[in-house]
Symmetry: C2
Subunit: 390 residues, 2 copies
């Protein structure tokens, strides 16, 4: 069992009508606020007006950057960093889902340096030693960006989609109002749920000797997602469902369940290549990849964990043969992704063929650290897994 | 479902050989450190020498207060607060179990005021607006004091044992090394486990509409305690068992699983009177009280939660009649406390009779907020529950 340092000081305002605390949180850091957001959805749901009213009430000066895209681009980051420098911004307020939050994190870091923000993610891997303070208002339960210090940025010129976690980019405070996710479509709700499931599965499946308590927590989170994602898809204004998904999104990836485990993730690096080349929704790519990856890694040395997963998460009869339970657990996960969540189940179904598998596999291994994964994967392994997804 | 604010910025160094970070943590707050501890156990296990060496290495000035007793007394708090004032202490370092940590919290608060620290706990309820910074090194898994802002202090002159939670008393950092609990006796290990179980049960049994995810976490923690406490009693140097118990102790009561629930606790106020009058170990009192309290509160309006508890924590067959599962769950909890943990099962067995039941019931209701509990309890209810424990 590895040592670890637990240190998650993000303050979370959870529930409805908590924006009355927004002014006080932002004011801790100064007067000049850059608010970042995506398309117009925050205007449609009235959140934009609410936020602006709170900022004005607190006597703060508001700057805006809208248009941050899904799979956020480095160009948006560059724009935001420029505004921060030119306008002497004191604090960033990201209003949106993971894409807006991720882009904002790198703007906050970019504001503190003279070089191009892409240098943080390119092979230069420029240090991220400081960042402007960040406050977030979440509108989509998925990436967990509201409570972690990571982000993933796409560079369309180079077909790169690269993630990085650095402490200075950790939000100071996050506002999580489940009602702000009522208008998230069934499809995006499903993709968010798949993303959360993947965050947990990437940590849950490991060979290290762990804290049993954290396994229990991860199983509880997976059961929560399996229970509530289909409800939220059918009843978009079901507060209980939206609340459970929202709080699960934060805890799936804020580092707590990790408890010292150090192995690299598997499906995320493979998916980042899919999104980089085809701009698909991250959660959809993960849903397609995860069951195939599990199938690929199942053998006598890994079967016990699959068995635990099957019995504790899906309630499969534990008296059955271990390998049978393991295989059944993969089936049930597929059933969740492709029947309950109604996500497309193959790459072919979303018009992706094997054209770039070679390059994608190479990049996934090179950038993603796959040789340090649960089951170490090389280029051939990754290509095989991509092929299983066709 | 209630709103809540999640805000637990305590930094935790978990595992062995983490004391190398002690100097850096203490130095954040100044040069003059008051180290508090109980009897000599930290000297026996070599921890005292390690801590002193780290403090010296960091060039800090060390002051000491030892002799903090179990069920810590207000006199110890007074002494500590005096030292802080006289010696211009910058930071307190509590090394021990919940008693040492709790006393130290009120010393840290007492250092900032001119009045007697008992005024914080007496009917005066003096405000606690600031406190000196506190760092802890935990040697007993039980109270969760290492990650919460509460403490319980006894005043033997008035037979009072009173708790209070106030934000300024939250530790800045805590060092949790499971190996520091290897010498905890089987009996104290059992009492600690009973205390943790009770912390969870006090929150788990409630009538509010909650976050399912948090119920899953609480069930996971209870299963963790049930699994590992007997192992730690039999194999005191089993790192895995000690580690799971230690991390569970923090999460059982740091506020996370509460998620906005506001009802008052039940068994803790009743137990505080037992400890105040008879100076028994807190966890033992809780083990005796909890199954009787559950029995007393079981009826058609509460049975569903008991059923969930029985099925998810003890694996009782869910196809059985709900009330039968509920009763069986209480039996299995009793079996855990009195057979697996080998704790005495009645008040008579620890020489407590009904002499003070009347007064104790009155005080528990008056001080403990029992009328706002899961099932509201008045003086007669509490007396009845005490009688069931005889």
């Amino acid at each position: 069992m590895n040592n670890f340092i637990y240190d998650i000081p993000v303050k979370v305002y959870f529930g409805e009508n908590q924006l009355c605390h927004l002014g006080e949180e932002l004011s801790k850091y100064g007067k000049r606020v850059l608010m970042t957001y995506g398309g117009g959805s925050i205007k449609k749901i009235g959140l934009y007006d609410e936020v602006v009213a709170e900022i004005k009430k607190a006597g703060l000066e508001l700057f805006e950057l809208s248009g941050i895209e899904p799979n956020p681009r480095i160009d948006s980051v560059r724009k935001g960093a420029e505004i921060c420098k030119n306008e002497n911004i004191d604090v960033l307020l990201a209003v949106g889902g993971g894409s807006t939050l991720d882009a904002t994190k790198f703007m906050a870091a970019g504001a503190m340096v003279d070089h191009d923000p892409w240098d943080f993610l390119s092979s230069k891997w420029a240090p991220i030693e400081k960042a402007l303070p960040i406050v977030t208002i979440l509108t989509l339960s998925a990436t967990g960006s509201e409570m972690d210090c990571g982000g993933v940025i796409t560079n369309p010129e180079t077909n790169d989609k690269i993630g990085r976690m650095e402490r200075p980019m950790l939000p100071k405070a996050s506002f999580l109002n489940p009602a702000n996710t009522y208008t998230v479509s069934p499809y995006q709700t499903a993709c968010g749920a798949a993303d959360m499931m993947s965050h947990i599965i990437e940590v849950y499946f490991n060979k290290e000797n762990d804290l049993y308590m954290l396994d229990c927590f991860m199983e509880g989170m997976m059961k929560t997602i399996i229970k509530y994602a289909p409800i939220a898809m059918k009843e978009p204004e079901n507060y209980e469902a939206r609340a459970n998904l929202m709080w699960a999104s934060s805890w799936a990836i804020n580092g707590f369940v990790n408890g010292g485990k150090e192995h690299s993730w598997s499906c995320h690096p493979m998916e980042h290549e899919l999104s980089a080349f085809y701009d698909i929704t991250h959660g959809l790519g993960l849903a397609i990849l995860t069951p195939r990856w599990l199938e690929y890694c199942l053998d006598d040395s890994t079967v016990s964990k699959y068995y635990q997963f099957g019995v504790n998460v899906f309630g499969i009869d534990g008296s059955l043969d271990k390998m049978a339970v393991a295989k059944k657990s993969i089936e049930m996960l597929s059933d969740f992704f492709f029947n309950s969540l109604k996500l497309k189940s193959t790459l072919s179904a979303i018009d992706i063929d094997d054209t770039h598998f070679e390059t994608m596999a190479e990049k996934a291994v090179e950038i993603g650290g796959l040789k340090y994964a649960y089951k170490p994967l090389d280029k051939t392994d990754v290509r095989n897994i991509y092929k299983m997804c066709l």
